[in-house]
């Protein structure tokens, strides 16, 4: 892996004003994340993980501090540039999937492409199909979200996150709504994407899942309390072989 720094945050803070009280969700984060890294962020509930991910994803603005993405200060970007970053640099995977209802899997995956520069609908369709193939759901392209299991919905969401070939993938508890085997399957997918060169930042509550990452960062009370390389990297595809196979994979949820 080369050592290009993709993400660099300095003294990043975020406070929410709740009437009289201000909640300090982040109290000065300093981090560098290299291109091609696979980072797991851990920490107790309320420690500021989601807040941090939202800032990295340019979905929200910090209260103070700076965030450099590819060497560019995000605070200096205008709305248009930020929209473009969201569209083309970042693939976001949410805990609750966030697929559009009454919209087929394929159309959901096409969504980021729609907001890109002009692209023929044929090309768009092809790209979306490729992304669905990567997540192994090409045969479910015409299904609506309510016809898919939770694991399948999350894979559609991952296909949507990668369809624009982003620089990095932000996944905030992507397995939070999934059973353990399906969770490992999602991690297998992330390891596959990582091996193809994607930078991945994953928030998880589960200690076991953090072992599929290369680096583990722990948050507490809006601060980083530990940041270390993972010395015991697990391979998800091998773990899956050892796990009991359910008759119907999507029975849970």
């Amino acid at each position: 892996m080369d050592n290009n720094i993709l993400i660099s945050v300095r003294d990043l803070t975020k406070s929410y004003q709740m009437g009289e009280i201000s909640v300090h969700a982040l109290r000065g984060i300093n981090l560098d994340i290299d291109e091609g890294d696979f980072v797991a962020i851990m920490g107790p509930s309320g420690s500021g993980k989601t807040t941090f991910m939202n800032l990295l994803g340019c979905l929200d603005k910090p209260t103070s501090g700076s965030y450099f993405l590819d060497g560019i200060n995000v605070a200096e970007m205008d709305d248009k540039a930020i929209t473009q970053v969201r569209n083309q640099k970042i693939g976001y995977v949410f805990q609750a999937f966030y697929l559009l209802p009454r919209t087929t899997a394929l159309e959901n995956v096409e969504l980021p492409l729609l907001y890109r520069h002009k692209m023929s609908s044929k090309e768009r369709r092809e790209k979306a199909m490729q992304a669905l193939e990567i997540v192994g759901l090409a045969d479910r392209a015409k299904h609506y979200p309510n016809q898919l299991s939770g694991g399948q919905q999350q894979r559609v969401a991952i296909a949507r996150a990668i369809v624009n070939d982003p620089a990095f993938i932000l996944a905030d508890e992507p397995t939070g709504n999934l059973d353990s085997r399906t969770s490992v399957e999602v991690l297998e997918l992330f390891q596959k994407l990582h091996s193809q060169g994607k930078t991945i930042i994953l928030v998880t509550h589960e200690y076991d899942l953090s072992h599929y990452a290369l680096r583990i960062i722990t948050f507490r009370d809006g601060k980083v309390i530990s940041d270390a390389p993972n010395l015991d990297v697990h391979i998800a595809s091998e773990d899956l072989k050892k796990m009991p196979q359910l008759d119907i994979e999507e029975e849970v949820l």
Binding site: N54, L59, R86, N87, Y92, L114
Partner: protein, 405 residues
């Protein structure tokens, strides 16, 4: 992102919610439909009034003594009667340049009887020129002659309705009917003119020599004459009007201009179209209100739809939709609803106007400007009432939108 792609997104989202889309559209359909129908009815009435007025004849001038004038009323009460007399008719005929035809007109009502058939009709006593002024042509038979007018012959010409009701299946020409028990010989039957816009049957008439009408039916004491004149050309009308007025003033000592009304067809047409334009405007305003209500309906449902789709908006923005994209999507949705609703409204309104025209026997006129007005207004409604919800959608905070439950 280009407009075409946003339009596609907007159309898809409308298609995904067909019921909501249709219900929103309904307000516009009804509004535009009402505008088209109402204006069609109003314009139809205007057109018919104008036709009616031109069916009075060509270049017609009516002369009446002004009964609303106090002096004339006093004279009338004193028994001296109407200011106008046969001498005036003669004077206008002989001394006014540009006059083509002149005829006195007396009106009365009476029971008509033929055999056992009865009919209550209006009787108009005139000179032979009247047929030419009013452009009344015969279905069959002939007019009465000037000599018959002079001698006070008991002859008449009848309209189609009278003929149909008194002479069921018989040829009236040459027959004798009784008007208030006085026998009149029928010389001819007039061509049908149909119903007037006021709903009056123009064929329900009996036309008799004015001499006979006065002496046999009205009596000298109660006669009230109006004079109908036709000018040789449209251009001459104002001059002829002025000359008639001057002759009347010199012929009747001590009268003023206020004692006479000398009104041309154009004057009447102007007054009538002012009335029917007011009617059109009134109808259009009522319809416009329903269009406005339709617009508020759009806003209402768009607002609900924004709330309902907050999460969708958040998702779209998270994957790269800009504020502008969201704004445009919602505005295009609103405009699409109102334009399609407007088009359906035009078809529905037009059809309704035609159906109403046929069943109620109204005259209907769908004008291009009413269509333009309706389409323009419904577009405006779409933009105006789509703007606020669209702004609201575009200004949503991304994180709040995503977290919205």
């Amino acid at each position: 992102m280009d407009i075409i792609s946003i339009m596609k997104i907007a159309f898809k989202s409308l298609a995904r919610n067909k019921t909501r889309t249709f219900l929103t559209m309904l307000g516009i359909i009804i509004g535009v439909g009402a505008v088209i129908t109402m204006i069609a009815i109003g314009q139809g009435a205007t057109k018919q009034v104008n036709e009616q007025i031109s069916s009075m004849g060509t270049n017609v001038i009516m002369v009446v003594s002004n009964m609303s004038n106090t002096q004339s009323r006093a004279r009338q009460a004193a028994g001296s009667g109407n200011l106008l007399d046969e001498g005036d008719v003669k004077a206008i005929q002989e001394n006014v340049d540009g006059v083509l035809y002149v005829s006195p007109v007396y009106n009365t009502y009476g029971q008509l009887k033929y055999g056992s058939n009865n009919w209550r009709g209006s009787i108009t006593g005139v000179d032979v020129d009247y047929f030419l002024i009013r452009d009344l042509s015969l279905e069959y038979g002939q007019y009465f002659y000037p000599s018959e007018v002079e001698s006070g012959a008991k002859v008449c010409v009848i309209g189609k309705t009278v003929a149909d009701n008194l002479f069921v299946g018989e040829d009236p020409v040459g027959k004798t009917m009784r008007i208030r028990h006085i026998p009149f010989t029928i010389k001819g039957v007039l061509k049908s003119k149909g119903a007037s816009s006021m709903g009056m049957d123009q064929d329900d008439i009996v036309i008799a020599p004015h001499t006979t009408t006065v002496s046999r039916l009205i009596g000298q004491r109660w006669k009230f004459m109006t004079i109908i004149v036709s000018a040789i050309s449209k251009e001459r009308i104002p001059m002829v009007q002025e000359d008639i007025m001057n002759i009347l003033l010199t012929r009747h000592n001590g009268t003023t201009r206020d004692d006479f009304i000398v009104r041309s067809q154009t004057d009447i047409a102007e007054a009538a179209s002012a009335v029917s334009n007011t009617l059109t405007f009134l109808l259009a305003s009522i319809a416009g209100i329903s269009l406005l209500v339709g617009g508020i309906g759009i806003m209402n449902i768009m607002l609900v739809s924004v709330t309902e789709r907050i999460k969708e908006i958040g998702i779209r923005m998270a994957v790269g939709a800009s504020k502008r994209d969201v704004l445009l999507q919602f505005i295009i949705e609103a405009i699409t609803i109102s334009v399609i609703g407007g088009l359906i409204g035009i078809i529905m309104g037009w059809s309704l106007a035609v159906v109403l025209g046929q069943t109620m026997n109204w005259s209907i006129s769908v004008t291009p400007w009413s269509i333009l007005l309706a389409v323009g207004f419904s577009c405006a409604v779409g933009i105006f009432f789509g703007w606020y919800p669209a702004r609201k959608a575009a200004n949503l905070n991304l994180i709040d939108a995503l977290r919205y439950e």
